[in-house]
Amino acid sequence: MTPIWDGDYAREILPILAEASLITVQATLMGFALALVLGLLFAAGRLYGPPGLRLAFGAVVEFIRSTPLLIQIFFLYYVMPDFGLTLDALPTGVLALGLHYGAYCAEVYRAGLDNVPKGQWEASIALNLSPWNTFRRIILPQAIPPVVPALGNYLVALFKETPLLSVIAVLELMQTAKILGSESFQYTEPITLVGLFFLAFSLVSAALIQRLERHLNRRPGRQRTP
């Protein structure tokens, strides 16, 4: 009878999984960076853009949020080449994660931007700041810190969805674990290790986000004036 847990096998595959985890982390960080940029773009377009753009961005955000990430990944990988956009598996995965979470981040940014008092815009007009400088130097610095926790949650959520990229054969953790399992017929060790890895990484990022949050709240500029 084979043992439930084969320690030797686990030790053997650990370096392979560790290497694959780099791809997972890479996809996470690049996908989230893209999501942060796209989200801000969507939010700003929806709030301040001309009516046509508001409508278009609103529709895009709703569409992305209402369809599953898995289908978006398939679509970008298998359908977009028909329209002339052929990307490797990892860039496709990053793009899908970035778009999907960009739509969610857009709503978070929107709440943050909406919460900056109207008087801040008026004071900026009275001081003759351009709309762009007002947004960049006055509104954004007040809108972001309160939404850091919400954005952080999406970082962890995005990270936990990277195994979906295994469906287009990105060699991240899950795909690597499946390959290892199919070679050795031992799935318990690779899958368990992948789970543990995700647990550890999620806990670490949550702690980092909490520290960032505390740091942002400690600064004296944080408390709002009436």
Partner: protein
């Protein structure tokens, strides 16, 4: 002679001119064909019941509100419009940005930038709008904050300052742009009574030192009487009565004005 000499025009030209200015919100007419001239260096107090359109006057002049009819002029140039040949057409963003530089405003709720120190609040626009070097802007901001009595609070954030101190920073911040016209919109209304004095005395010394044209919406009748050259009483979107401050308060002409002043005095 084919034209008026510009010199002659400059002597008589008002600093601010409202010419048949109307403002509506849907069905509601907030201002109805307002005509008002304000001379250079004049200090005008605007009083009146709430909803009389007095704050709207300042907000239109600061270009925070569009006007529906009429023209506002600042220093001989159209503010709400620009010249195209002989005609006046509605101002575009570039024109508004150029003209706004003449005007500064202080708000009821201060509207300081909470993520910047007092000094940085006063440096931001001079650096990004006027293109001052940071050390120049710092010096100018430091001088102005000293003038409003806050040289020991340069690095304090708005949340670390009292309401009166915040409002004084807001005054310094507006002055840092070197406006010709300063607008004060109920600047003491959000303050505890014991903090009003420090803000009013800053405004008083501004009036004495600077060659500013000032418009203030206020509920402080005592201050209006002592400080303003002229008082305009607004009621239902029009100037119901105006005159030199002393005469206005001692001998109001219309029954509506007397009624209002009685009500305000009783509240004190």
């Amino acid at each position: 002679m084919t034209t008026d000499t510009p010199d002659h025009a400059a002597v008589t030209a008002p600093m601010v001119r409202f010419e048949r200015v109307s403002k509506r919100y849907g069905e509601l007419t907030v201002l109805d064909g307002l005509d008002l001239d304000i001379a250079p260096h004049e200090k005008v107090a605007i009083i009146g019941p709430s909803g009389s359109g007095k704050t709207t006057v300042l907000r239109m002049l600061m270009t925070l509100e569009r006007i529906d009819e009429g023209v506002i002029w600042v220093d001989g140039e159209p503010l709400t419009h620009r010249r195209r040949g002989e005609q006046l057409v509605p101002a575009d963003a570039a024109h508004l940005r150029r003209m706004r530089g003449h005007i500064g405003m202080v708000f009821q709720h201060f509207n300081l930038f909470p993520h910047m120190s007092a000094l940085r609040n006063c440096m931001e626009a001079p650096v990004t709008v006027l293109g001052l070097r940071p050390d120049e802007a710092r010096e100018r901001a430091g001088e102005l904050l000293a003038m409003v009595g806050l040289s020991d609070k340069l690095d304090h954030y708005p949340s670390q300052l009292s309401g009166g101190q915040q409002q004084r920073v807001a005054i310094a911040r507006a002055l840092a742009m070197r406006p010709k016209v300063m607008l004060f919109d109920e600047v003491t209304s959000a303050l505890d009574p014991e903090l009003c004095g420090e803000v009013l005395s800053v405004i008083r010394s501004l009036g004495a030192q600077h060659q500013l044209t000032m418009l203030m919406v206020t509920h402080q009748m005592g201050f209006a009487r002592e400080f303003a050259d002229r008082v305009c009483f607004f009621d239902a979107g029009k100037i119901a009565e105006q005159g030199p401050a002393q005469a206005f308060f001692e001998n109001p002409q219309s029954e509506r004005t007397r009624q209002f002043l009685r009500a305000v005095m009783e509240a004190v």
